[in-house]
Symmetry: C2
DNA sequence: CCGACTTGCGTCATCGTTGTCGCAAGTTAT
DNA sequence: ATAACTTGCGACAACGATGACGCAAGTCGG
């Protein structure tokens, strides 16, 4: 389990309290600003964070470095959420519900960083996401084995639908949403669909 | 029904044959390049189109103008596809299938322009999309009335799921896909979901 | 309290992108 | 054939964003 106080910068020495706060403030501002406009400048980010532009550059040498740090930070949170919720022992339905809720909690508010992380060039980040993807597929296979998913359903398609629904819910979101309600909505829709039981044609 | 030869530039006089070809080539290149990297430069687009950078600027004064033209072009195709497929007379299931297939045919290959169009500032484009949205909701309401959709389903949520699935399918796509198969997959998943008929818990 | 650290500010150099222009060569339509 | 149009090329100016400084003032930790 990744703690809340994990190191923010990778290579550096431990930061002083105020500096660490600044870094976190910058990352949060970056997420906010960049999710609204991915081409936002360092100046806009600095302004949103309430710090001078030079301070941002002090903490993140290049723009790339800032983006990478943001991605790494979000990916850490994401992996922690998944690892904490997934289990090969509990019933697939329970796990699906739990992991969905926990992922939503992280992904709402870190949409930009998470979206960017998905196709990252960084091998470390790519590995984490491939890992999560594998865990997801295993969960779905287990769901299929226990009869939760229909036997004829393609696992990859199931995962793509699942990801798509999660992505949809976490886009353009109001401040505080009822995660549990959204979770129910997603899992319910994924399993039952929106149509009546009687098939057409 | 919008023809293939409709005017590409709005305000301008009719273009000579070679110029119109160039404009189309540039738009296609822009879609390709920008879908891979939304921050791509005019030079990269020009290179992909096989023309000089100055030629791009000759046809589209500013970067904005190019983006707008791209968006307008895609929106036109999109609206035509929807208008041609939707109907208040035919059974909702049939319409849903037909409109999905036609939209997919347009949206595959014009993903960047379409995604950008969704939240456009241009009132004309926004109106078209609001129009399509309204048509979609009406279709779903009719589907609900005829028992295709469950009565308890929220129409807005249904539309969001539908859009999300279409978006998912049209992202990162190989050259030639079987549109009919994808359409079946989408509609089927939307209505039936992926789970077994017997509910859990 | 004192040393180390951090921040804001102003400044500077650099770079890439954008957008414009004129000219020569090639293409299109009549 | 000829006049109008289009394109490529090279060059240019302007602009914004990036990134690096040093310095003075403020803050943190022992």
């Amino acid at each position: 389990m990744t703690t809340q106080h994990e190191r923010l910068l990778i290579g550096g020495k431990p930061l002083r309290a105020d500096a660490e706060r600044t870094v976190r403030t910058i990352l949060e501002a970056a997420e906010r600003v960049l999710s609204a406009d991915p081409t936002a400048t360092m100046e806009q980010i600095a302004e949103a964070a309430g710090v001078a532009r030079t301070t941002v550059h002090r903490r993140f040498t290049t723009r790339e470095a800032l983006l990478d740090a943001l991605t790494r930070w979000a990916t850490g949170q994401f992996a922690a959420a998944v690892d904490g919720a997934i289990s090969d022992a509990a019933p697939p339905a329970v796990v699906l519900y739990r992991v969905t809720a926990d992922v939503l909690r992280v992904k709402i508010g870190w949409g930009f960083a998470m979206t960017r992380a998905a196709g990252s060039a960084d091998p470390e980040i790519a590995r984490v996401h491939a890992d999560v993807l594998e865990k997801c597929d295993r969960l779905f296979r287990r769901a299929q084995a226990t009869g939760l998913l229909r036997p004829d359903v393609d696992i990859e398609w199931a995962r793509r639908c699942y990801y798509a629904l999660i992505h949809e819910v976490t886009q353009g979101h109001s401040p505080e949403s009822d995660v549990d309600a959204l979770t129910t909505l997603i899992v319910d829709t994924l399993l039952r669909g929106l149509g009546t039981d009687s098939r057409f044609a």
